[in-house]
């Protein structure tokens, strides 16, 4: 069994700051990490490897330094790492990204047939959740998004049963391999790298694939050229025009009273609606 996991190196958004005057993003010194959502996908793949001895290949499209993110995945237990990297790929939106990743996955599939492709739910920088569905469509694989549990995999029969987070409940789906799974976050606990893992990661070479290696000749499909969506503007959210009205009061009780009075004087309809809402709740309670 062969599983590919698509991972992306992203800036740690928790540490991104916006310059207060120029409103530009201050990227200097912001560490790069494996997209946190992708680690749930990797862990799920590694669990299948633990059970079945499947081969796990991690794959990323990005600049040369994204190799660090792939090495991290090797240290956790992935078998192979492939960095898909080419100047022509930069500036890609999700459509162009899925084009390149699908081409790379096809190349990988020729070397050893793929049964499953995992992606994270979404990236924390792109934040679109579109690349997974895009890959599935381009490869003609079945798409299983927001998967919270893999209930059954039968490689002999090419069958898979998963639980998928849907609106208002969980869908249990039976599907066919190969499939693309986007893994829901928080559905497993990510392992730590152990010593042997870290040694392997330090030793092992990451393969670099450029556009020739994955058979891409049509440059209108990749990078900026292959991206129908373009960012036209980046701006800081506008502050609200009115500043909050400061409520005065010597004691908490006085302040609270002054506030409630002011609130319901300014918004009498709010008080009416609130009383009605409370009446409804009381009526519901009586019924049950």
């Amino acid at each position: 069994m062969h599983i590919a996991v698509c991972i992306k190196q992203v800036p740690d958004s928790a540490q991104i700051r916006v310059h207060p005057v120029t409103n530009t993003i201050m990227r200097q010194g912001v560490p790069a990490i494996v997209n946190p959502f992708d680690l749930f996908a990797l862990e799920e793949a590694l669990r299948i490897k633990d059970r079945t001895g499947a081969r796990v290949t991690v794959l990323s499209m990005g600049p040369p330094q994204a190799e660090d993110a792939l090495k991290k995945c090797i240290s956790l237990g992935a078998d192979d790492a492939i960095l898909v990297t080419d100047k022509a790929f930069s500036g890609a939106d999700t459509l162009a990204t899925s084009y390149v990743l699908a081409a790379a996955l096809r190349t990988l599939h020729e070397k050893q047939p793929l049964d499953l492709v995992f992606t994270g739910k979404q990236t924390i920088d792109g934040d679109t959740a579109q690349v997974g569905p895009g890959i599935a469509i381009r490869l003609g694989y079945q798409l299983l998004t927001y998967v919270s549990r893999i209930a059954k995999i039968d490689v002999q029969d090419s069958r898979i049963v998963v639980e998928r987070r849907a609106e208002g409940g969980v869908q249990v789906l039976e599907s066919r391999l190969p499939a693309v799974i986007t893994m829901l976050e928080g559905t497993n606990t990510i392992r730590f790298a152990d010593m042997p893992g870290m040694f392997t990661a330090a030793r092992q070479q990451t393969q670099h694939w450029n556009r020739e290696a994955i058979g891409i000749t049509d440059l209108t499909q990749v990078g900026l050229k292959g991206s129908p969506t373009v960012v036209a503007q980046v701006f800081a959210p506008k502050p609200k025009a009115v500043r909050a009205l400061r409520i005065e009061g010597e004691t908490p009780a006085a302040m609270a009273e002054a506030f409630v009075d002011k609130l319901f004087t300014d918004y009498p309809q709010l008080e009416e609606a609130l009383l009605e809402h409370l009446d409804q709740l009381a009526a519901q309670e009586q019924q049950s």
Binding site: S13, A14, I16, T94, L95, S98, D127, A129, V131, G132, P133, G134, A136, I137, R138, Q142, L143, T145, R165, A166, E167, G168, Q171, V172, L173, E174, S175, R176, G186, P228, T229, V230, V231, A232, Q233, V234, F235, A236, K238, P239, R243, A244, L245, R246, T251, P252, A256, E257, F259, K262, L263, F264, D266, Y267, L270, E271, L274, L275, H277, L278
Partner: protein
């Protein structure tokens, strides 16, 4: 945030290929599961109406599902919420949402009737479907938008969304392909007023895939038990706590005030991470977007990631010890002080005031008759 950027949008030079010029009309995908329409679809019809009027084109609902009286009734509802027409595709194969079947259905409709804009809710279903449809049609898709506008100069749609973890907003355009697609966050656009008498026409189109060709089968659906889950997204009254609440026990003060107001309890991300409140209660960029009549934030600093989830509230009040906390930049009322003291005081004050008003109303009611 639905406001438009102050600076003019700088668009790269791209020409719309000739074959797309005839694409006209604004479409909204009507998401329904188990007979229940997701409210984001109605919100989108409201916004879609605005966009269609600006462009001088028709607004259409796109309704896909199993045949029956239910789906026919839903078509009527799309008119009530502002659609001029409803594209209807009904087939037993479309009974449950499945990516392959629904992607085929939508792409067939798009290729046949050629809309310039296609909007979907940024729900699990909407995002699953939108990504597949956009890739099949090879068109651009902007995810999880919070603002949509039209630039009449070239009829393009300006889609705004938070970026870089919500620290900044960006405006995205798609100038070279059609339809222009976007998924939109629930509860960001207001629900339009319903007019049950509004007429509209139905355009039916046959679905041409047989069950045998749909690979994935739904073998079960386990509904979330509604009773024990907080219904934060739809609450009209919310009292929320942040890191400033200090410890888990202090969240009891919020639950207690919430009881007096019939409110739901919300929380900032640090409060959820610390385990003081359930993940279902998180408000913000990576939690829920809420649109209550009244939002009270206690011990919340007002980081942008929290703000994007709650600034649509009608009235916002904030309690914070720090008079310079950013939350006061977008609140209506500032209660500068210790939340641990103010919350119980507020509970007393609200209870007293509501009892008083109720007594007055009941006493004066007979006189009015």
């Amino acid at each position: 945030m639905s406001e438009l950027p102050a600076k003019p949008v700088k668009k790269p030079k791209r020409v719309l290929p000739e074959r797309f010029v005839s694409y006209k009309g604004v479409w909204v995908f009507i998401e329904h599961e188990h007979g229940h329409v997701h409210p984001v679809s109605w919100e989108l019809l409201g916004k879609g109406r605005e966009l269609a009027d600006k462009l001088g084109v028709e607004l259409a609902g796109v309704l896909i599902g199993a045949p029956g009286p239910k789906i026919a009734a839903l078509a009527g509802e799309t008119f009530a919420y502002g659609a001029d027409l409803c594209y209807l595709m009904q087939d037993a194969v479309l009974h449950d949402y499945r990516n392959q079947a629904y992607t085929a259905a939508i792409t067939t409709l798009v290729n046949t009737y050629q809309p310039e804009i296609l909007l979907l809710g940024a729900t699990t279903q909407g995002r699953d479907l939108a990504g597949s449809v956009a890739t099949t049609l090879l068109t651009g898709l902007t995810a999880d938008c919070t603002g949509l506008e039209i630039d009449l100069a070239d009829r393009s749609m300006l889609s705004s969304r938070p970026t870089f973890g919500g620290s900044l907003m960006c405006t995205i355009v798609n100038l070279a392909t059609r339809p222009q697609m976007a998924t939109v966050r629930p509860r960001v656009m207001p629900l339009p007023v319903k007019d049950p008498k509004r007429p509209g026409r139905i355009v039916e189109h046959a679905f041409d895939l047989a069950e045998e060709s749909i690979v994935t089968k739904v073998i079960d659906f386990i509904p979330d038990s509604r009773a024990d889950k907080p219904q934060l997204a739809f609450a009209d009254y919310i009292v929320a706590g942040g890191r400033g609440m200090g410890k888990p026990e202090n969240f009891d003060l919020l639950f207690s005030l919430a009881k007096t107001l019939g409110a739901e309890v919300g929380a900032s991300r640090p409060a959820v991470h610390a385990g003081w409140a359930d993940a279902e209660r998180q408000v913000g960029q990576s939690g829920k977007t809420v649109r209550p009549k009244f939002y009270l934030a206690a011990g919340v600093s007002g980081a942008i990631q929290h703000r994007v989830g709650m600034e649509g509230a009608d009235v916002i009040a904030a309690i914070n010890v720090d008079a310079n906390a950013p939350i006061f930049d977008f609140s209506n009322y500032a209660l500068i002080g210790n939340a641990l003291e103010l919350l119980p005081a507020l509970q007393t004050a609200f209870a007293a005031r509501l009892a008083q008003t109720r007594a007055r109303v009941t006493r004066s009611a007979p006189k009015e008759e």
